[in-house]
């Protein structure tokens, strides 16, 4: 036998080709191409002594333990069994070419000379994933248990979701301990649904969508998990978690109610025991932007600017106070207030309160005093006081056309400042009164 080096293509000739081949010869050329390829062979030249049944000289092609043909004669001659332009294909990566010659090449007593043959072979991709009816009939296992993927020179296997390819590269085993769903909507189901789910599952289906979205779950029919009439879910169970809270453990044939998880992260844990033939479960999950509760004023002086019928993630509202009131966050006075709807559906700041502005104790007036026009001791917005000078020794300085009483009235403004209508914040002044003795000199004697 002659073993050709493994190549993707090449030529095979008869001995001495193109000179006449020798007599009494039997050689077998072994053509091998890389694994994952088949061998395709075509004869370009063929000149072998013709005979009935190719008994004398012949070329025999075999592959895969089968003979693909026995050929003799010439390409364009009806004598013998020439291969013509026929392409020969192996199933595997090996093809054998056996060349047999007898003791002589004579025709009607004349010695004939035959050149032999020139064949061209090439490696052709083997589609390992193609159906192999013969193999099935022969009881052979398919190459891949679930999915087969062919490529030039080879193939690989993969498994359906929830299954993991095993080390043999072909078989699949249930593996659902870390299934992740990140699309804003989709379907999640137990393995093989609606066919019975496999035993001994420890599945974790995690739904993780963008912050600010909330996940809704809607279970579909059929819903079927092994159950017991007296004990709650002793065999198999589906647990649902969101925000670290258990939303329920489900089994039986009654599908769970639609669930609004109020979370963007939901985990479904599905445990099964070693037996059972329930069909499992399937749910459709959808998402919507999370909503915050409608802001509510804590007092009648708070004004929520431009209130909206609904507030969702990243929406915000601003708060102001009625005139004369001050925004307060705890004990802290605020110049403005804005709250933003957070991804968890809460407001990032608590609603403030509006506290009435307080002007504080009125400034004391040198050589004068004040009294409350409004409620005594109350110094809040709209409170009024009247400053007066210590008469008759002092007199209030007033502008022309103004009276002391006008000049002395101060009102607590919305800005929390005592202000006079004419002079604003400027304090009144008490000036000494000259030349007005209380007890002037008099003389009764005349």
């Amino acid at each position: 036998s002659i073993y050709l080096p493994q190549k993707l293509y090449g030529e095979v000739t008869s001995p001495l080709y193109p000179k006449p081949y020798p007599s009494d010869l039997e050689t077998t050329t072994v053509i091998t191409v890389p694994m994952g390829y088949r061998v395709k062979l075509v004869f370009w030249q063929f000149d072998v002594e013709p005979s009935e049944g190719c008994l004398y000289d012949y070329v025999k092609i075999s592959a895969d333990k089968q003979t693909l043909g026995r050929f003799c004669g010439q390409l364009d001659s009806p004598l013998g069994n020439p291969p013509g332009s026929k392409e020969f294909m192996s199933q595997g990566n090996k093809m054998l070419l056996t060349f047999h010659t007898d003791f002589s090449n004579e025709e009607n007593g004349t010695i004939m000379f035959y050149k032999g043959f020139l064949a061209y072979y090439q490696a052709v991709d083997l589609d390992e994933c193609a159906s192999q009816p013969n193999s099935v009939e022969e009881g052979l296992q398919p190459r891949c248990q679930h999915l087969c993927h062919n490529y030039v020179g080879g193939y690989f296997c993969s498994c359906h979701p929830g299954y993991e390819l095993q080390k043999d590269g072909q078989s699949c085993q249930a593996e659902c301990s870390s299934e992740l769903y990140t699309e804003p909507s989709g379907y999640v189901s137990s393995l093989e649904y609606p066919q019975p789910y496999p035993p001994d599952l420890r599945c974790n289906y995690s739904i993780r969508v963008e912050r600010g979205l909330t996940v809704h779950l809607k279970f579909l029919d059929p819903f079927e998990i092994d159950d017991h009439q007296q004990v709650h879910c002793p065999y198999d169970q589906l647990q649902i978690y969101a925000n670290g809270k258990n939303l329920g453990e489900f089994c039986g044939k009654q599908r769970p109610p639609d669930l609004d998880t109020s979370s963007n992260a939901v985990d479904l844990l599905f445990f099964t025991d070693e037996s059972g033939d329930s069909r499992g479960w399937k749910l459709h999950y959808t998402t919507e932007t999370i909503k915050c509760p409608q802001p509510k004023a804590l007092d009648e002086f708070t004004i929520i600017q431009d209130p909206q019928p609904q507030y969702q993630f990243r929406d915000y509202f601003t708060v102001t106070c009625k005139q004369g009131y001050q925004l307060m966050e705890g004990n802290q006075a605020l110049l403005s207030f804005t709250a933003v709807c957070q991804h968890d559906g809460t407001w990032h700041r608590a609603m403030p309160r509006c506290k009435i502005k307080n002007c504080g104790q009125p400034q004391s007036l040198s050589n004068g005093d004040f009294r409350y026009i409004t409620t005594k001791g109350v110094t809040t917005y709209e409170a009024s006081i009247q400053y007066h000078c210590h008469e008759p020794y002092y007199k209030m300085l007033t502008r022309a056309g103004s009276s002391e009483s006008m000049r002395g009235i101060y009102t607590c403004t919305a800005q929390g400042i005592w202000k006079n209508e004419e002079e604003g914040e400027k304090m009144p002044r008490c000036l000494p009164v000259c030349g007005k003795p209380v007890n002037p000199v008099t003389q009764k004697e005349r």
Binding site: N367, H390, Y393, Y394, L431, P432, V433, C434, G435, K436, P437, V438, N439, P440, V441, Q443
Partner: protein, 244 residues
């Protein structure tokens, strides 16, 4: 005060008692200024006194000499002498006016009130009666109480003639006026200097300081001479500032 009588509390609430080189008087303006005579601060004969650098003490608010001192003196922040005053000319009392600014404002009350300043010449008409008060001598003794005397504004020419008869060469300028009557022994005297000649403006029912006790020849023997405040009102107001 010669020929006067004791004042009652509240009669002259502007009256100040000063001791610098000797006793003197003054009048309260506003609530932190004292109007007085320059010569009480810079006397014409400074070497006569023993104390060459005396403290300027100002007392207010009482008619009794002992009581007024018990009330405590009012510290002086600033002394302002009129620029026309000539200490070095013993017989010249031109510009005999000064202001003392107190450190703190005083609280006004029945016995402590300011006097007003004049605003026209009618306060200097001949015969217009005014009151002069002070803790000065009554002639031969120092009083324990504030005293006052009621005097008329005198005729300028009569006063000038009287000065000539006394062979006195002291200038009697337009910035002075005189009061009294040689026939009546009523006058201000030593210790009353700086006090004011107060006139009642009946129209406005206010008392006005028209003069400052300045100088005289003897006491109660003729006329007394006063600084004419009206001529210094602008200066006073300028020194006191707008806020006063």
């Amino acid at each position: 005060i010669i020929g006067g009588q004791p004042a009652r509390p509240g009669n002259f609430p502007w009256q100040a008692f000063t001791t610098i080189y000797g006793p003197g008087g003054g009048a309260l303006l506003g609530d932190r200024w004292i109007l007085t005579a320059a010569h009480t601060i810079y006397p014409k004969y400074p070497n006569k006194g023993k104390n060459t650098n005396p403290r300027t003490l100002v007392f207010l608010g009482h008619t009794n000499m002992e009581q007024i001192q018990k009330l405590g003196h009012h510290p002086v922040r600033r002394v302002i002498i009129h620029p026309d005053y000539r200490q070095e000319e013993p017989d010249n009392f031109e510009g005999d006016i000064a202001l003392l600014e107190l450190e703190n404002s005083v609280t006004l009350g029945p016995e402590l009130l300011p006097i007003c300043l004049p605003d026209n010449e009618t306060f200097y008409g001949q015969g217009l009666m005014g009151y002069v008060s002070g803790f000065g001598t009554t002639g031969n003794r120092i009083p324990f109480h504030l005293r006052f005397v009621r005097l008329p504004v005198a005729d300028r020419e009569a006063c000038q003639r009287w000065l000539w008869t006394k062979k006195d060469t002291s200038p009697f300028s337009q910035n002075m006026f005189c009061s009294g009557d040689p026939a009546v022994q009523q006058d201000a005297c030593q210790g009353d200097s700086g006090g004011v000649f107060a006139v009642r403006d009946r129209n406005r029912d206010i008392w006005v300081a028209t003069g400052i006790v300045s100088w005289g020849i003897g006491c109660g023997e003729g006329y007394g001479f006063y600084t004419k405040v009206l001529n210094y009102v602008d200066w006073i107001k300028k020194e006191m500032g707008d806020e006063n």
